[in-house]
């Protein structure tokens, strides 16, 4: 891809983006100051497509604001009321539960900070929602509220989060970040926690396995530089923990706040620039959200081509933004969200709180494994009739069973399970001997793992079977497997950890603390069977029309041919993300055989019979 721009400074930043280089504050200023909105948008869209393909996520969610009584007085807030005033309200747990319907997948709970609620009441809300609606993930309490609990109930932040987690809290919203500079904080919300406090709450949550969102409130008194400082602070925190799921730039709604004239909303150009710049600056945050309630549906829909890959959800009730005069309607039906996403040329993907795909509303969808070893298939892929959905191997399997995907690179186990409905197409991901990205990090040798607990990455479908086959058939060892959750994990409970993909590749180089032994599963297999190992195969649904199958075959062939011999180019784009040098990436990719030949087919047969005839199939 290339961009045409009259802005030579912008072009220089574009060259960095293409190389996967991290952008500086100065680069960010160039981005914000450009007049070439389209070129900026294209740069952000390029990164968006690398991260999310054509997917745009939405969730069936319900927002609960349990009370508007608040001890703080933030200048930009039209929502808060003082206890005893006409506007003040408090919801009972029963009232909260009555707002939730069974189809809801995420309940978003935030509110004011009343002077007289007991700690148990907050716990009870989470527990009751979680128990009554187990399919709905509870996303509750901003960092500002957590800090309030910490001070009011004299409990350490970690203890507060542990108790909420035990009650059923799954993720946390990102509200309350506003703008991380002291100048703005002192002027607009002097009683709120400082940047450090906000980040500390989030990082603590991440370490406990509670992923969170992060936000920025823009369009009031902040400078462009302050916006960028804000983004960079979030980026640094993300480097430490990796627990932010999405970043949400929130357009300030002036209303009666008195900060700006009542009807002076942010300009659409500023909204789109802010979305695009955040996509480019926050290179380590997986998702950027265009929050339609504040942006308006129209701008949110355009933003899906400017770096945003999430449009939030049905929301249910949106009292905070509405009180300050947001011009969107209170509810958007699911159908409407789907329509908005489709009109933007994207695939609507209904998600859960962790961005696992639940439903895909599009035809001709190809699954893309988001690992480095699959990049040669997609790097030069010209989409033509197809749309691309990035999914980890296990979800590719699930979506394919549900007939929500038409083709893709399937994990071998998923192919076995769906052989009846799938047709192989010529290519695969097979090792020659070692693989470097399906690794068991262990405290013990193979024989000593008997009866021990092994943590298994949640993303795998085939590697976990390969591990079982090796343990049981090669070493005659039985271990207990336990799935890890996505995001940050506490590994201390496990004797060994199975990681795959880029995470494994990174840990293979840098090691995983406390696990001295590192086993390459493909090498174990090769030394044992003298065969390659096939991790994944390209397959299309048998019902896909022949012309599309042929188009797909041509597309894959062309992309692969264009990539082969140029693996350093791929290396240069992905090196900083994975932490390997371009040369290491080149040698890693050269270790694969992408053509499904006779030896690979033999390896598939051998593995199939082992899976069928051992305990590994249980």
């Amino acid at each position: 891809m290339n961009i045409i721009t009259r802005d030579s400074l912008l072009y220089r930043v574009w060259q960095k983006v293409q190389q996967g280089e991290r952008l500086s504050l100065e680069d960010g200023l160039v981005l914000f100051n450009t007049n070439d909105l389209i070129a900026l948008g294209k740069m952000a869209h390029y990164v968006q497509q690398q991260k999310s393909g054509d997917a745009v996520y939405f969730v069936l969610n319900q927002k609960i604001e349990h009370t508007n009584i608040c001890v703080l007085s933030c200048k930009f807030c039209d929502f808060a009321a003082k206890k005893g005033t006409d506007k003040a309200y408090e919801m009972t747990t029963g009232e909260i539960l009555s707002k939730i319907t069974p189809e809801i997948r995420e309940v978003h709970i935030t509110g004011g900070m009343p002077p007289d609620w007991e700690w148990e009441r907050y716990i009870d809300i989470v527990k009751s929602v979680h128990q009554k609606f187990p399919d709905a993930d509870v996303k509750a309490y901003t960092a500002v509220e957590i800090d309030f609990f910490h001070k009011k109930f004299k409990l350490p932040i970690e203890e507060i989060l542990r108790q909420l987690q035990a009650a059923g809290l799954r993720t946390m919203p990102g509200g309350g970040a506003e703008i991380f500079t002291e100048r703005v904080r002192k002027l607009l919300f002097p009683q709120k926690i400082v940047a450090k406090g906000y980040l500390e709450v989030h990082k603590t949550a991440h370490r406990l396995g509670i992923p969170t969102n992060c936000t920025m409130l823009y369009g009031h008194i902040e400078t462009i530089e302050e916006r960028l400082i804000h983004m960079i602070k979030l980026r640094e925190a993300q480097d430490e923990t990796g627990g932010f799921l999405s970043f949400i730039p929130l357009a300030f709604q002036p209303g009666d706040t008195g900060i700006k004239p009542k009807n002076q909303f942010t300009s659409a150009v500023d909204d789109l620039k802010t979305i695009a710049v955040s996509r480019l600056m926050l290179d380590n945050v997986p998702h950027i959200k265009a929050y339609w309630v504040m942006l308006t549906e129209e701008v949110a829909s355009v933003a899906l081509n400017f770096g945003a890959d999430d449009i939030d959800g049905t929301v249910g009730q949106e009292r905070i933004a509405h009180d300050a005069g947001a011009i969107s309607p209170m509810e958007l039906a699911k159908e409407k969200l789907i329509k908005i996403i489709q009109e933007a040329g994207k695939i609507p993907v209904e998600r859960d709180a962790f961005y696992n795909p639940l439903n895909v509303y599009s035809e001709n969808v190809i699954g893309k494994i988001p690992y480095l070893n699959s990049v040669p298939f997609y790097h030069h892929f010209e989409k033509g009739s197809f749309k691309i959905l990035p999914v980890v191997p296990r979800h590719m399997g699930i979506l394919s069973v549900q007939k929500q995907l038409d083709a893709g690179l399937f994990s071998l186990m998923d192919y076995f399970e769906q052989e009846e409905s799938l047709e192989l197409i010529d290519w695969c991901i097979a090792t020659r001997d070692q693989v470097k990205s399906v690794m068991l990090f262990s405290k013990d040798g193979w024989a000593d793992l008997h009866g021990k607990k092994i943590g298994i990455t949640d993303d795998t479908a085939t590697s976990v079977k390969l591990l079982k086959v090796i343990l049981e058939n090669k070493y005659n060892v039985r271990a207990n497997f336990e799935r890890l959750h996505r995001g940050v994990n506490d590994y201390s409970a496990y004797q060994a950890i199975l990681l795959i993909g880029d995470e494994a590749l990174k840990r293979n180089k840098f090691g995983l603390d406390g696990y001295e032994l590192i086993f390459d599963l493909a090498l174990e297999w090769y030394n044992w069977k003298k065969l390659p190992f096939v991790f994944a195969v390209w397959a299309a649904r048998k019902t896909l029309p022949d012309n599309l199958k042929n188009e797909l075959k041509q597309d894959i062939k062309k992309s692969l041919e264009a990539s082969q011999g140029h693996f350093t180019e791929i290396g240069k784009i992905h090196d900083s993300r994975i932490g390997l040098s371009p040369e290491e990436i080149e040698s890693y990719l050269e270790g694969f055989n992408y053509h499904l030949g006779e030896r690979e087919k033999e390896a598939i047969r051998e593995f199939r019979s082992l899976v069928h005839h051992t305990h590994a199939n249980r």
Partner: protein, 364 residues
């Protein structure tokens, strides 16, 4: 033809075919289309300027016998809510507008056979004489056809009399989508595409300048959008009489079409229309985006998709209002909206002459 070849063509300044346009519309990523449109826009108009006009859109009658299914404005004679204003009343209206800084009056009405031809002539003559600050931008093609029927004069003769009375520009409304399949479905009495083009052709021959419009988002398909663009591009090749092209989306409220087409076309579609028009209409100087028809925010975005004009202030507007679509602004707001989009606002006349430049853009 492959997208890449079409891109090359556009970048080399060569004309694209209807087939190319279809590929662009259907296969191009939104921002790739915008990028190409911008290239064409800055080639024609290298300044970071966006023009606008201070105007108003009053109506002299809402009685109409054309019965278009997309229209919520018209009434039949004798129906409640119908009106026809006298020339005196309209002149008063124009005077009030002039006092508010208006330079252009875009005047249109229903096709009301009870109004004699002299009324239209008198309206122009008295405007020129009594409200000289105002540039009359009067009467759509449909009304001009109506005048021809009322007066028994040919279209060229009607146009000559309007010219002699002092009219110099004609609004481009009523084109809808210039495809006979679509027009038959929408209002059989409105005439064929050729009727609209014919009035415009005759007007351009005499020396009138006009705009060209397109109202999309109802019964048309992609091919018909391109047919529309192609027909006006061909006519423009003949006399270069069009000043600007103005697309807007159909507003279904209170119209007979509402049941079939309940929603506005998407903002993405609008941006595509603006960009495609800029690329396809290589012989047009100006493409107009509007704060009015698609909302202020999308209007701002459209300025980055190849448009170089932000339309008028539209102090009075009754047609969309009858479809429950109301959007108001002030001169100050229009200036601010353009400025906040990263452009320099420039006030213009109906004929796109510059009147006044406002503060230079300081980015966002």
């Amino acid at each position: 033809m492959h997208l890449k070849d079409i891109r090359d063509k556009i970048q080399q300044g060569r004309r694209i075919t209807p087939e190319d346009a279809l590929v662009l519309l259907q296969k191009s990523e939104l921002l790739d289309l915008g990028e190409l449109a911008n290239e064409v826009r800055y080639r024609k108009n290298p300044k970071q300027d966006i023009t606008f006009v201070i105007d108003t859109n009053p109506n002299y009658t809402n009685i109409c016998n054309v019965d278009c299914v997309f229209c919520a404005f018209y009434r039949h004679a004798g129906e409640s809510g119908e009106y026809t204003y006298t020339v005196d009343q309209m002149i008063q209206n124009f005077k009030r507008a002039a006092a508010n800084g208006v330079t252009t009056v875009l005047l249109q009405g229903g096709v009301n056979p009870a109004i004699p031809f002299e009324y239209y002539i008198e309206m122009i003559e008295r405007t020129k004489k009594e409200v000289p600050e105002i540039h009359p931008h009067f009467y759509s093609t449909t009304e001009i056809i109506g005048m021809s029927e009322v007066s028994g004069l040919s279209i060229p003769d009607v146009l000559k009399k309007l010219w002699d009375a002092g009219l110099r520009t004609i609004p481009g409304g009523g084109a809808e989508v210039l495809s006979d399949r679509v027009r038959k479905k929408m209002g059989h009495k409105k005439g064929t595409s050729e009727d609209w083009l014919n009035v415009m052709r005759e007007a351009h021959k005499i020396g009138f300048k006009t705009t060209a419009t397109m109202m999309y988002g109802h019964l048309e398909n992609d091919e018909e959008i391109i047919e529309h663009l192609d027909r006006i591009r061909s006519l423009q090749d003949e006399y270069h009489g069009f000043t600007a092209f103005i697309p807007w989306s159909f507003k279904p409220g209170n119209t007979p079409l509402e049941k079939i087409i309940p929603h506005f076309a998407s903002p993405i579609r609008y941006l595509q229309m603006i960009a495609l028009a800029r690329i396809y209409l290589d012989n047009f100087d100006h493409i107009q985006a509007s704060w009015f028809s698609e909302g202020k925010k999308i209007g701002q975005v459209a300025l980055h998709f190849g448009a170089d004009d932000f339309g008028g202030t539209l102090f009075e507007e009754n047609v969309h209002a009858e479809a429950n679509f109301v959007n108001k602004t002030t001169v100050e707001e229009v200036i601010q909206l353009i400025h906040d989009s990263g452009f320099t606002p420039v006030q213009r006349t109906t004929l796109y002459e510059r009147i006044k430049q406002y503060k230079t853009s300081s980015k966002i």
